[in-house]
């Protein structure tokens, strides 16, 4: 007799309901934000206009014409793209070395790298600002990209290390018997075999870099300011303009939501560190 997992009527109904409820809970703030972005600042704070209102593009027009949205978007894109490439360029060789040529201290280095993520960012904020201003790189791409790259590098290396570890050691050894150089070992064997993992890592790091706010807000004024800074800058002292703020926020998260939507599968794989096959 075949053994069939028995699901009760109750769980058959309750599970999807629960899933939808949780999904809605997460989705609602974003939905609300998008709705609000089409309201005037006056309508935005009136509960009776929560769902039904006179939609307007005023906030978006205002944003692109008065706040130079495209410039911030361009800075965000430059920061995220360059930082992601930097993470891969450093992370792939580093993770490769630790996965396939481990030394006695490899484990310690990995743990140490992770421990840097536990350091409160605020603790090094002022030294960083003084240092940046001292050497004259405050509010430059170089500074923002360096900082955003380095704070994400431990995650990139850990993820890549985990993926590389899954590659059978014998395949790497076969390559060594077949006479591959270190470079062709990475190019011909490692990268093709870990392609999924590398893509997941790149995607996740890109999202982290794009969303980075703590440092980008504090280390820039205008020249290298990203969309996070634009959002922050819309917190006007005379009160919150919710319509305007929502439009800016929507435009800031929009690209990343679209990107995430198209790469869902790869993302789930990345976030579960290869635990889901």
């Amino acid at each position: 007799m075949a053994i069939v997992a028995q699901t009760s009527k109750f769980s058959q109904i309750s599970r999807p309901v629960l899933a939808w409820a949780i999904g809605f809970l997460f989705f609602f703030p974003i939905f609300w934000m998008v709705l609000t972005s089409f309201k005037t600042d006056a309508d935005a704070v009136k509960p009776e206009y929560l769902f039904f209102f006179q939609p307007t593009l005023e906030n978006y027009i205002n944003m692109t014409s008065n706040y130079n949205y495209w410039r911030f978007a361009q800075n965000s894109a430059i920061t995220a793209v360059v930082a992601t490439l930097f993470n891969l360029a450093v992370g792939i060789p580093a993770a490769y070395a630790m996965a396939f040529n481990p030394s006695r201290s490899t484990k310690n280095i990995l743990v140490w790298m992770l421990s840097t993520k536990m350091l409160p960012a605020a603790a090094v904020l002022y030294p960083m600002i003084f240092l940046a201003k001292g050497i004259g790189i405050f509010d430059t791409h170089a500074l923002v990209i360096t900082v955003v790259s380095l704070i994400n590098l431990p995650i990139a290396i850990w993820m890549l290390f985990t993926y590389f570890k899954e590659i059978p050691r014998e395949i790497i050894e076969a390559g060594r018997m077949d006479g591959v150089s270190t470079w062709s070992e990475i190019k011909e064997i490692l990268v093709p075999l870990a392609w999924g993992g590398i893509a997941s890592t790149a995607l996740l790091i890109f999202i982290f870099c794009w969303n980075e706010a703590y440092w980008t807000v504090r280390l820039t004024t205008i020249d290298a300011a990203t969309l996070s800074k634009l959002i922050e800058g819309n917190r006007a002292p005379e009160g919150l303009f919710f319509g305007r703020l929502s439009a800016v926020s929507t435009a800031a998260v929009g690209p990343i939501v679209v990107l995430g939507w198209f790469c869902q599968k790869q993302l789930v794989k990345g976030l579960t560190f290869g635990a889901v096959k």
Partner: protein, 334 residues
């Protein structure tokens, strides 16, 4: 050419020495099998020859040249792994041609060599397939093909047949032996299966705990095992060992007698016991005899079909001229 000399090589992992100082010479063209129980250091030794494992001390020479610090690919050796270790993202022809491409050979030359290797291994129909679409036996052939195209000084095989089913294993065993006879290239083959060792080897190296117990041809090991370990390891079913009074009769601490050297007699034999489990192989019957008062169980290999009831009392008569004698330290006494 392919003469490999291991000169007092040792290997330690941290504090643990897995290979104590070891000397061994593998002559050119020889089929050498390293055999021993798992963890005896046979694979480590092979990997040290390949260059995949560093030596803690000692030297390795290939054709008179010290290769101790030479990179694996520069030693002129090719290796076939237990898990095949094919490149999953490459087709069969790419896999076989890979070492040549890494050497920088021109594509036309690579194609020619790949074709020749694939032809000799019956892989021509599969050249465009990826490894995932091949059976275990075909994958193993591709791995061998990848080794052959390099025209190595010696082939290293690390338990290459362990992942194959029994029928395929016998077939591949023959193919590898054939290949050796045809190519006359040195082959070093690691296995824990003494049947593979006996059937394929020119020379068997029996290892235990990183120490070479005995080196010799299969029949030397079978006929003159130097100690109890080799005596027990080579031969199937295992040799019977008797101690005590029976051994003293032969002026030995322990005597060993192979199952095929004991005869079942209806009466008047030297030893007596009760029939336990009988394993019928058709060509032979393995009888496990209890209650002999000599050893817990005595195994007898009787030719043909022997039908004895479970629990029946029988007599055994050993061939005295092939009894192996060992001293208290387990060394052979001539």
């Amino acid at each position: 050419m392919g003469r490999i000399v291991l000169d007092s090589v040792t290997k330690s992992f941290g504090e643990i020495q897995v290979i104590p100082p070891l000397n061994l010479t593998i002559e050119d063209g020889e089929f050498t099998v390293f055999v021993g129980p798992s963890g005896c250091g046979k694979s480590t030794l092979l990997r040290m020859m390949a260059g995949l494992e560093d030596l803690t001390s000692g030297k390795i020479q290939i054709d008179g040249i010290d290769v101790t610090d030479v990179a694996p690919s520069k030693r002129g050796l090719a290796m076939v792994f237990q898990s095949y270790a094919l490149y999953p993202h490459m087709t069969v022809s790419k896999n076989i041609g890979f070492p040549l491409r890494m050497e920088g050979m021109i594509q036309a030359e690579i194609d020619k060599k790949v074709y020749a290797a694939a032809k000799s291994l019956n892989l021509l129909d599969y050249l465009d397939r990826k490894p995932v679409a091949l059976s275990g036996g075909q994958r193993q052939r591709v791995a061998i093909g990848r080794a052959i195209v390099r025209n190595p000084k010696a082939f290293l095989f690390d338990e290459p047949l362990s992942n194959l089913d029994a029928a395929l294993r016998v077939g591949m065993r023959l193919e590898i032996s054939e290949m050796h006879k045809r190519m006359q290239t040195s082959m070093i083959y690691v296995t824990h299966d003494q049947v593979e060792a006996m059937t394929m080897a020119d020379k068997i190296v029996v290892l235990q705990g990183g120490i070479i117990e005995q080196v010799g041809s299969p029949l030397e090991l079978y006929n003159q095992p130097v100690n109890l370990f080799v005596a027990g390891f080579i031969g199937s079913p295992k040799m019977n060992f008797l101690e005590g009074d029976e051994a003293f009769k032969y002026n030995a601490h322990t005597i060993g007698i192979r199952p095929e050297h004991i005869k079942v007699v209806s009466e008047g034999g030297d030893w007596h016991g009760k029939v336990g489990v009988a394993e019928h192989l058709g060509s032979d019957t393995f009888l496990h005899i209890h209650d002999t008062g000599l050893a817990k169980i005595i195994t007898v290999r009787a030719p043909g079909e022997v039908n004895l009831k479970y629990g029946a009392r029988i007599s055994l008569s050993p061939y005295e001229e092939v009894i192996h004698k060992f001293d208290a330290q387990g060394h052979r006494i001539e």
